[in-house]
Structures are given as structure tokens and as C-alpha cells.
Subunit: 319 residues, 3 copies
């Protein structure tokens, strides 16, 4: 079996998938599809999809039994191939995969999980082995906490996924030096997380110092990301792996930050700001758009700068 780790709900007939997805199709509606696979690996009883134009050449050679693709590729589809037409092939690929492999958690607390007796779990919450849910924590319905995650000082919404090794609600990094010794500044806020959020493996979200660290609904955070105390991340934002957001910074809605980036503390990023990977954002960005570099500047400026630097390397070294 190709997918040993997942609950399998297939196979599906082509006509039934089309019905469930609300898509039109051409070809053999009675054909039974057993799995989903890539254009180059799919076999005759598997479904595949074309999302990226640069892979369209594989349409003519794929051995897949059926393909989800945009109507604009209709003329490239080999004769006899069964095809689902979709305006958003990647979205429908996600939806069909969810039909084959349903994604909900078990809805159970593993016997080796540790849930403090004062924590409140909603309906159908899944807690993995070794996960720790601390005193007073509230977790919304259907949220999944994977094995060995740690949640303290937090209210988590519904339908969230907290991955293994993540630490939500730890102490922020705050110290005061009195001239003789370093005093710890108590961190008496919490983490307030909305619904449908995802927090990656070994990602750390510190609790607030006085006010709360806030992760709004639909925020998706990848692995090994640092979210410092008092940060606010607006709805639908996505933060890619190994990025760090320093204390008290506020991200608007739909902000996207590429991997290994850093954002300094006490600034604001406007709704819809996109930050390229490995950037360092040092100032408030008030305008939606794409930014890159360290210090981060508008993408267009950064491209010019990169070109200028590249020319430097080719110069003869006369200044």
C-alpha cells in the first residue's frame, strides 16, 4: 500500500468525484480512481493534477487515469484521457485528497498526554502522546495537538493544529538590569489564538508580558518559527519556516513572510504585505506590496540593488 499512514476513504468513481467536487468532466465516468499522485508517478487507476504551466508538457506523457486541469489546457489533453475541468486545480487537488484521506483528528486524548485538571477541552479535541496542556488552558472544538507539543498560558480556538514540539505560551524574553543584577520581568499575559490556525513543529509562541500575544484566525505558521511576546499576527497571515518576529510587532491581515526572515520589534506591517525569504524587516511598512533584503526595501528597489552588487563583483576593483 502506497500510503501506509493514512485513513483511506477511496476508491471513487470519476462521476462521483465530479459530483462531490462540483466539477464537469470528460471521459469515463465509471472509471474507478484508487489514489492521487504526481503527473510523473501516477498510474492508470490514479488521479493527478496540473497546476503549474511549466509542467504542462507532462500532460502528454502521464500514465494517470485522470487529471484535474484548467480548461485553458483543453487542447493539450491527449485523446482518451479522463479530465476534470477546474478553475482552481490546486484547490480541487486539495479537496480531492481530503476525500481520499480524511484529515480530522481522532478526537481522543492519548493516555500518555498530560492535561491539567483545570484545562478546558472542547468537543472532539485530539491530544497526542506526551503533549502537555497546562493549567487554565482552553482549547476549542476539533483542535488537534500533536505528540510532545506544550501549551501553557493560552486560549486556543477551534479547528487548530498544533504540531509536535511546538511550545505555545512560554515566557517572553524580558530582563531589567539594575546596575548589579539582571532581573526577570514577569510575563503575565497569555497567548490568544483564533480558529483554524496551524502552528508548526518546534515553533515557539511566547505569551505576552502585560497584554496578550495574539494569533488571529486562519494564521498558518511553519516549523521552527519564533513569535515573541506581545506580537499580534492578523487573520490569514502565513509565516514560513525559521522566521522570527520580535516583541510587540503587529502584522496586519494576510501578511506573508518567507522563510528565514526576521522582523524587528515594535513595528507594524500593513495588511497584505509580502516579505521575501531571508529578509530582515527593520521599519514599519504602511503599504501593501512585496519587500525584500536586509534592511527590507520594496522588491523593485531590491532587484536594482542586487543588480548593482552583481556588477560590483565584475568590476576590476578600482574604486
Amino acid at each position: 500500500m502506497a500510503r501506509p499512514f493514512h485513513t483511506y476513504n477511496g476508491p471513487f468513481k470519476v462521476k462521483d468525484l465530479a459530483n462531490k467536487l462540483g466539477l464537469s468532466y470528460e471521459g469515463d465516468g465509471e472509471k474507478s480512481l484508487h489514489d492521487v499522485n504526481t503527473l510523473t508517478s501516477a498510474t492508470g487507476d490514479e488521479l493527478t493534477f496540473l497546476d503549474n504551466v511549466k509542467y504542462s508538457e507532462f500532460l502528454t506523457t502521464t500514465a494517470a487515469g485522470a487529471v484535474i486541469c484548467h480548461p485553458k489546457f483543453a487542447d493539450k489533453i491527449p485523446q482518451g484521457m479522463t479530465v476534470f475541468f477546474s478553475e482552481m486545480p490546486y484547490v480541487d487537488y486539495a479537496r480531492v485528497l481530503t476525500l481520499f484521506y480524511p484529515q480530522q483528528g481522532s478526537g481522543k486524548v492519548h493516555p500518555a498526554a498530560v492535561v491539567d485538571e483545570t484545562a478546558k477541552l472542547g468537543e472532539g479535541v485530539t491530544i497526542g502522546a506526551g503533549a502537555y496542556i497546562g493549567a487554565g488552558v482552553v482549547i476549542g472544538d476539533r483542535t488537534v495537538v500533536e505528540a510532545n507539543a506544550t501549551i501553557t498560558h493560552a486560549h486556543i480556538g477551534t479547528d487548530c493544529i498544533i504540531h509536535s514540539g511546538a511550545v505555545i505560551g512560554g515566557d517572553g524574553f524580558g530582563f531589567a538590569f539594575d546596575g548589579k543584577q539582571v532581573l526577570k520581568v514577569p510575563q503575565v499575559g497569555m497567548v490568544q489564538m483564533g480558529d483554524r490556525c496551524e502552528i508548526g513543529a518546534c515553533t515557539t509562541v511566547d505569551r505576552g508580558s502585560l497584554e496578550n500575544t495574539v494569533i488571529e484566525s486562519d494564521v498558518k505558521i511553519d516549523n521552527l518559527v519564533q513569535v515573541a511576546h506581545n506580537v499580534k499576527i492578523g487573520q490569514g497571515s502565513q509565516i514560513v519556516s525559521q522566521t522570527g518576529i520580535a516583541g510587540s510587532t503587529k502584522l496586519g491581515k494576510g501578511v506573508i513572510i518567507g522563510g528565514q526572515s526576521g522582523v524587528v520589534g515594535h513595528i507594524e506591517l500593513a495588511d497584505g504585505v509580502m516579505i521575501a525569504a531571508r529578509s530582515g524587516v527593520t521599519k514599519t511598512l504602511t503599504t501593501k506590496g512585496t519587500y525584500a533584503g536586509f534592511p527590507a526595501v520594496e522588491f523593485r528597489t531590491w532587484k536594482k540593488l542586487q543588480a548593482a552588487i552583481s556588477r560590483l563583483a565584475k568590476s576590476k576593483g578600482k574604486s
Copy 2:
């Protein structure tokens, strides 16, 4: 209740706080203060503080019942406001928060913690659920090990805090290639940590290969930091999130390293060296001062370089 997760020792009368903190005050000594909050959020029965000049405008509009501030702002304080005068408002804010919300651990080993029978725990040590204290580990009095932290091959001092997900005493990354295969170099040293240290969530401190990895007293390390084998970090140093210190490097006392920085192996940083965020230090730094960039240079040089690069972006692209 605004602070659901913390043991609460308040309220306090103004005159009693002044007494405990050793501060003078003006205003209503009988006023009862129920909590501490920011200048913009504090209500009439809450205490706030002014530390940063740029927030001084909020002094005139805050609804707080009392404020801790420096005497130099005396003339900006609205008539009738109760005020504590402090030479170090941020320090006294930390102290007052500690009065409201005492910070010591429970002093208990959680039933779901795993402490090897050969480990030695001091008086009042707190070990969280799922934390693992390996064979032979020694932990000093009052140290707190949070849930799901892992400590092996280490001696930890008193009054330390090891946060969730931290891994202390893991194998260093050492291999020898014999021309055919990669041999593991045994890592037979340990981690020696002083008193009052703090190690952040998901931070990794590898044990020494032959000699020890040493974290001196009062060192504060943020989340997701990598400390490689044989590193020595001098007393009172602070390392911000996602920084990495490569093998055998020695940091002096009071070294401060900004977030997402890297320091190569086998070098030394002098006492009092400060490294700006996202810097890469490639050479020994023998002089106290601030450094930035990759390769890191004196801050003044780096500023010049940044200005020169910035001009490049504005040039017409003729080389």
C-alpha cells in the same frame, strides 16, 4: 480576571508598594492598586510605568491609577495623579510585577516528569510534565525545568529556568571521514551551567566533546538558539532568539548577541561585545564595542557600508 494563569498576591495600597520598593511617592497613599498594565490600557485601579521617552505623551492621557516614572518627567505628570518616582522605572516595574505575581516554581516534580534515579535534584526544584532528567544530571536548588524539556549530561546551577522543548546536553555534531565512511566522534564532555541562567524554548545546548560546554551564571538565552559543543558563554551574557554559536567559541562576560546572528567556531568575543541582530561574526573580536553585518565589522563601519550600498541602488547602473 485579566490574568487567569498567574498566582495573584495583590491588591496593594500605594503606601505599601512604596515601602516595599523603597520609592518615594506623591498622591493618595491609601489608594488600592489591583494590577499593572500599559500606559494605554491601565484603568483607575491599575499601576503603569513610563520607561521610554517616546511614550511620555501618554502620561497626560493615561487612565491609570498610578504611574512609576523618572523624576525628570515630574512636570509632565497630570495634577492629581499618584506617582512613584524611580531612577530605574523599568527595573521597578519588574519588581512590582513580581510582587503582584510571584514567580517561583511550584517546587514539585510533576508525576508525569521522568527523573532518572541517579539524577540529583536540589531543594525546591520544579520539574514539569514530560520533562526528562537523565542519568547523573545534577540540578541546583529552586531551578525550574518546564514541561517537555530534556536534560542529559549536565550539571545545572541554582535558580535557573529551562523552558519547554529545550534540549541540554545532546550530542555535539562531530564526524571524522576515513576515506570510506563517516565515523561518529564520541562526545564525552558535559554541559556545566551556573546559577540564575535561563534557557529558552526549543533551544539546544550540546555537551562538550572532550572538555565541557560552559554556561556561566546569569546567562540568558532566548528561544531556538543553538549552542554547539565546547562553547563557553561568560557571565551575564544574553543571546537573542535563533542565534547560533558554533563549536569551541568563547564569549566573554556581558556579551549581547542580537537575534538570528551566527558566530563561527573557534573564535573569541571579548567582554562586553555587542552584536547587532542578523550579524555573522567570522573573526575574534578583542575589543568591547558594537558590531554588525556579515562579516561583522564595527558598527560605525557597517553604517558607512550600508549607506554606500544604499547609494548603489540609486545609481544608474553604469559601472
Copy 3:
């Protein structure tokens, strides 16, 4: 006792070590060696080694009872010192340390480990306290999983070491936006790991989305590294701490990546490619060699660029 945390198999006589290592020696074959230490710390009953030319001065001052060194240093060895001659002193240092301190795991599953009843463990597998081995996971003979590591959706080979806090087989970061909401893309692949691999503390290796994430044999990965979904890492590659490899990227055999580097998704690095620390690789590299910078270029080009940038800082700021 200098090494409180390790099983000790010594002492050894010089002649016996020479025999076991297959090395020639000069000096007192009956001398008993009790431990291994650095050139500067070793005492008269300890063995040391000289690997790096720059430490050769210490040969004349070391108090060690014996030294492993290359024959080319024969004339620098003080009279009367016992010496093992080795073509590869660092390799023989690793071998001798392994004799003194055998490195195999206990071969036991700790009572506080959680192993799903459908997981399959080979012979002599060691699983630490709090580690979680999920449903269907397969782990090869003699592999060691340290405390609080998490393994799901994975097949792991023989003789691997998975360090504490590592998360193998977590969800990849994949989402599809349908114009209204962000849909999770199910991640139905797994992690396929070969033999003799090492995965560092708090390192995350995501499972594949459709195909598998593949870590070939003899791959060594340091702490806090991110390996995204569908990545393939070729045999014998080494990835240093805090590096990130984005989705679907393929590394050839023997690729070495320095710390805090990043590699974008959907590219390929040829066999034998070396990437300097803190580099950002943005394009496929088809030729063996060393690369550095962001965007990463050939090392020679990068050196020129660094020199040009350095001159910029010294220029008068006229553009």
C-alpha cells in the same frame, strides 16, 4: 571522575591500543592510558592527538602520556614521549574514544517512551523517555531515539540516531487559497530514512505531500534544521545547524551545507556541492564546488564581491 556520564571501558595499555587500532607506536608499550584529552589538558596517564598543524607547538609542552599524530611531525615529538603514528589522526582519535567510551544505545525501550502498538522496532532499538513512535512507523536495528523525540509517518533505517526534540514525519506546510478560505493540502506521503543517519535536536523533517521525503544513508543533520516536504538528501550529505531546505529540493550525494543557510524549493544541488555558512541558494547548482553568499555564487566570485563591498565602505561616499 572526569567523565561522569559515559560507560567507561578503559584503561588500555599502549601496546593494546596500537593493536586494536592497527597503528605503529614508539615508546612504552606497557604504559596504561586512562582517558583521552586535549593537548593542553591531558595529563601523564592520558592520551591526546594532534590533527591541526596550528596546534603543533603544543606537542612540545603537552603533559600527555601519549599522542596520536601524523608521521610528518615525528621530528617535533619530544624525546621520551610515547607516540602512535597515524595517517588520519582525527579518525584514530574518534576510534580510540569509541574504545574508551562505547557508543551503542542501551537497546531498551524506556518505560516512559510511547510506542504505538502498530509500530515495528528492529533488534536492539533504544527509545528514550517521552519519545513517541507513532502508528505504522518502522525503525531499523540498533537505531537510537533519544528522549522526547517524535517520529510519525516514517520508515527509519538501522544504526540511526534521532536526537531529543527532533520531529520526524510532521505535516508539510501546504495550503491552497480558493478566494475565500485557506484549505489545508493533505500531506499523505511519509519520511523514508536510510541507515546510519543522525538527526539533531529540535530538527524537523516533514513528511512528503504525495511522494516521500527521502533521507539517504549516512546523512548527518545537526540541530534546529528544517527539512521540508518532498526534499531528498543524497547519501553522506551533512547539514549544519539552523539550515533550512525548502520543499521538493533534491540534494545529491556528499553535499555539505554550512550553518544558517537556506536552500529554496524545487531546485537541485549536484553531488559534492559545498555551501558556506549563512548562504542562500536560489538556483540549481549543477557543478561540484564551493558556493557562498545570498544569492549563492561560486566561492571565488563571492570573495571578489566581498572585496568590492569592503572597498565601498572605504570610499568617500561619492556616487
